[in-house]
């Protein structure tokens, strides 16, 4: 039974070896990040306090246990003692932990109160979780966009020999925010429960469909901060990252101006009639960003949950039905309504693309105007 001793030694040495290393690296792979907001730093401090309290109690409790295991074994010829109760001891070892807990509860309460104080925000951003992407709406500027995973399909499906540094942590359009401003996030979801988690901001807020809950951050350092959805939300739960880019106020103002311009340009495009080539090019882009997560870039899908587009009754049947399902989704399945997410031009493009590529060759096409008509029909 010497093995027990060796094993305990091994564990203690391992813990001792790891701890300083873990502490020396603020942003290490062993510990919580300190983060870049007052709240994330408060959380880090609470985390380390409770960690050291546990280490302290652990040394005492495990110390006594190990002492007993070594010195009070029958093989040493000891006679067992007879004592088996002591009321005062029981009271002492109930009261002391209680007092430690009270001491711990005080700072925890203060931090909790600060976390919940979302008043007097400078910027309000609505965050909406979708299966499987995030939408950001800048309520003060009228800007909104979707943020999709941008890791190339080749990397996801192991066709690429290497993976990029930010594999699964990169998006096509990051959330851009200014530093030193109080940003209030209004978090909700469109379909199922998601959770918006950025460790460096000290925020994890569940996104609950039909309800809006708040969180806030004041970022102290410019930089790019990454996170992932933290609540199981379906098959692509692991594939909807969050990227927050914190920039200076000037850069932020510039970015806002650019976005406003772009928005006007997109609005123009949305009503423009396109040629078939333009439709096909735009359609491929829309398909790869929005449809490929389930139906695959080549249209083969992931049956039975996500049917193939190649040769499907929708894609080679009447075009009106195809437009309808893209606009309105299909109730009771994962097929969502893209009507509110995509412009008329984009829907026209993606429908045209799916009917004339991905192994389908219907030869027909649909244009911006017809989508507009289809939308009007639906509202009637």
């Amino acid at each position: 039974m010497r093995l027990i001793n060796y094993w305990r030694w091994f564990v203690s040495v391992l813990l001792l070896a790891i701890t300083p290393y873990a502490l020396a690296h603020g942003e290490s792979k062993f510990n919580l990040p300190k983060g870049v907001t007052p709240i994330s730093q408060d959380i880090y401090n609470l985390h380390m306090t409770i960690f050291w309290i546990c280490v302290g109690i652990g040394i005492i409790v495990f110390g006594v246990m190990i002492y007993t295991l070594i010195y009070h074994r029958k093989s040493r010829g000891v006679k067992p003692a007879q004592f088996h109760e002591h009321t005062l001891v029981e009271i002492i070892w109930a009261v002391i932990p209680f007092l430690i807990l009270v001491a711990m509860a005080i700072p925890a309460t203060m931090v909790l109160i600060r976390m919940n104080d979302t008043k007097e925000a400078d910027i309000n951003i609505k965050v909406t979780g979708y299966q499987w992407k995030w939408q950001y709406e800048y309520l003060d500027h009228g800007i909104d966009f979707f943020s999709n995973l941008s890791t190339p399909r080749d990397e996801l499906e192991n066709r690429s020999p290497t993976k990029g540094q930010w594999y699964l942590l990169e998006v096509d359009k990051p959330l851009v925010v200014p530093i030193h401003k109080k940003i209030r996030f209004l978090v909700t979801a469109n379909d199922v429960v998601h959770s918006w988690w950025v460790p460096s901001l000290g925020i994890k807020r569940d996104a609950i469909p039909g309800f809006i809950y708040e969180a806030w951050a004041r970022i102290e350092k410019p930089g790019t901060y990454r996170g992932q959805c933290a609540e199981l939300c379906g098959v692509n739960h692991g594939f909807m990252p969050i990227v927050v880019k914190a920039v200076t106020q000037e850069e932020y103002n510039k970015w806002i101006a650019e976005q406003t311009q772009q928005k006007a340009a997109t609005a123009q495009l949305a009503t423009k009639t396109l040629t078939k080539d333009e439709l096909m090019t735009l359609g491929k882009k829309v398909h790869d960003t929005n449809c490929a997560v389930c139906h695959k870039a080549d249209g083969s899908g992931m049956p039975p949950a996500f049917p193939a587009i190649t040769g499907s009754q929708i894609a080679i049947g009447p075009i009106a039905k195809h437009i309808d399902i893209v606009l309105n989704g299909k109730l009771g399945t994962a097929m969502q309504a893209f009507g509110k997410q995509l412009s008329d031009a984009e829907i026209a493009a993606v429908v045209t693309y799916q009917r004339n590529a991905l192994g389908n060759s219907q030869g027909d096409m649909v244009n911006t105007q017809e989508i507009k008509v289809a939308r009007v029909k639906e509202t009637k």
């Binding site: 027990i4 495990f62 009070h72 199922v192 039909g210 933290a230 379906g234």
Partner: protein, 535 residues
């Protein structure tokens, strides 16, 4: 302490083992009302399910060995995490503990059988059908349940696959079985104690199950209600959990965790009882602070009803609720701490020996306490914002469930197996099993703390590159952990078939205490037909 009542066979009891036809052999097990038979059935069901759900865990770990690898699809991965959780909780730990209760409670309180033998038969025989229903979803068209064992709405309601209804009915059956089992245990302990066996003389194991049974009665109807609301939301046009119809997805989480939190104490309280039996035996010393051990269980059980929203700190519940649930959760560590201190005091100045049950009990003591520490960290609501739904939580609950409940169950099986089948198990194999399990357990789950703190969410089939090394370590550990359970299976079968050739005495252990060691080994089919005398 007690006097053995011999000549039990004088009574005209049915004795098994002489069935001639196959039908009679089957009927013996299907129709049995004997607490020992039913206990055995529960334990074997649990053992089979342990390998089923363990196999799923290995598939999960294989997929997570490397980023990007597609050993199983993300869709199947979600089905695996869901079923692994559901089966481990409802199909492994709960039946194993109920099986132990069936075997041991009558033996430990000097009762001839459970109070309600036919109910007992039915509560067991519902379970195989419940699990057939649940597992059959793999063979139906469309995916099996794929929304995690917590089946949060609306992912499980509007967005759930058709097989969800099978899961709902399976849970109804399991709940029914648990409620009946709980009623039976309460009735047995209140009515069937031998004369002189007062409540405060009862073994801690019986006490722990007595209290657990009340917990089950309180929570199982809530779970049944919750899944019934899911069913009506899915098919009958109600909107309990759908905001579009005036409902609230958070209502689901409140209902689920109102069940779910006491449920984790259902899984651990009988384990506490087991450890409180084993440590005194191998320390050759009475349990320290018996009364406080019992009080602590009662306090934990009561507190467990008012801490459920600590699973929901990130949902946006109001500040006042967060504070209340944080304080309540922190307080629950006081009675739990009292238990750990009392166990340590029980061993202190004893004369310890390290047979396999004791090894597992000591493993429990160290690793459950370790899991308790991470639990204390999780109780701090602001810090929980970072831990919630990360691998830190996965590490935490595997330390308290695997090296907590499951270790206690394994300890109990090694401890009482000689009493059940009359032969000693192989101590050598038992030690191999313990050490390999303990190494596998820690290699698998210790590194998960780091993964969680560094930001890896749970339930993802693929992960960013910085998490690769620890995931590989965890996968290697999982395979050691998984395959070392075959040693356990082999050892148990070998013992039952008497291949070890070492007959067990009635007392089995040198430091034995309690009524179960006063009957011969193997325990006769009928014991205590005449109540034993208790001093």
């Amino acid at each position: 302490m007690a006097e053995v009542i011999a000549h039990e066979t004088e009574h005209h009891h049915y004795e098994p083992g002489h069935e001639k036809t196959l039908w009679a052999k089957i009927a013996r097990w299907v129709l049995t009302t004997n607490h020992k038979d039913i206990g055995t059935l529960y334990l074997w069901l649990s053992f089979i399910m342990f390998f089923v759900a363990g196999g799923m865990a290995l598939l999960i770990r294989t997929e997570l060995f490397m980023p990007g690898a597609r050993f199983i699809s993300p869709e199947f991965f979600n089905q695996m995490t869901t079923m692994h959780g559901l089966i481990m909780v409802f199909g492994v730990v709960m039946p194993a503990l109920t099986g132990l209760a069936n075997w041991q409670i009558p033996l430990m309180i000097g009762a001839p059988d459970m109070a309600l033998p036919r109910l007992n038969n039915w509560s067991f025989w519902l379970l195989p059908f419940a699990f057939l229903l649940l597992i059959s979803t793999f063979f139906l068209e469309g995916p099996a349940p794929n929304f995690g064992w917590t089946f949060y709405a609306p992912l499980s309601t509007q967005y759930g696959p058709p097989s969800t209804d099978f899961m709902i009915f399976a849970i109804h059956l399991m709940g029914l079985s648990s409620i009946m089992g709980a009623i039976n245990i309460i009735a047995t302990i209140i009515n069937m104690r031998a004369p002189g066996m007062s409540y405060m003389k009862m073994p801690v194991f019986a006490w722990s199950w007595f209290i657990t049974a009340f917990l089950l009665l309180g929570i199982m109807p809530v779970l049944a209600g919750c899944v019934t609301m899911m069913l009506t939301d899915r098919h009958f046009g109600t909107s309990f959990f759908n905001a579009a119809g005036g409902g609230d997805p958070l209502l689901f989480q409140h209902l689920f965790w109102f069940f779910g939190h006491p449920e984790v104490y259902v899984l651990i309280l009988p384990a506490f009882g087991i450890i409180s039996e084993i440590l005194p035996t191998f320390s050759r010393k009475k349990i320290f602070g018996y009364r406080f051990m019992v009080y602590a269980i009662i306090v934990i059980a009561i507190l467990s009803y008012i801490v459920w929203a600590h699973h929901m700190f990130t949902t946006g519940i109001p500040l006042a609720s967060e504070l209340f649930f944080m304080y309540a959760t922190m307080i629950i560590s006081v009675p739990t701490g009292v238990k750990v201190f009392n166990w340590t005091a029980t061993m202190f100045k004893g004369a310890l020996s390290f047979e396999t049950p004791m090894l597992f009990a000591i493993g429990f003591l160290f690793m459950f306490t370790f899991g308790g520490f991470s639990g204390l960290m999780l109780a701090i609501a602001p810090a929980d914002v970072q831990y919630q739904d990360s691998y830190f939580v996965v590490a935490h609950f595997h330390y308290v469930l695997m090296s907590g409940s499951v270790y206690a169950i394994m300890a109990a099986i090694y401890y009482w197996l000689p009493k059940w089948c009359g032969y000693m198990y192989s101590e050598r194999l038992g030690r191999w099993h313990f050490w390999l399990t303990t190494i596998g357990m820690n290699v698998t789950f210790f590194v998960m703390h780091f993964l969680g703190l560094a930001g890896m969410p749970r339930r993802i089939p693929d992960y960013p590159l910085q998490f690769e090394d620890f995931n590989q370590v965890a996968t290697i550990g999982a395979f050691i952990l998984g395959f070392s359970q075959l040693i356990f299976l082999y050892n148990v079968i070998k013992t039952i078939r008497g291949k070890n050739r070492v007959k067990a005495t009635a007392e089995v252990w040198e430091g034995h205490h309690g009524l179960e060691w006063t009957v011969p080994s193997p325990a006769p089919y009928h014991t205590f037909s005449t109540p034993p005398k208790i001093d």
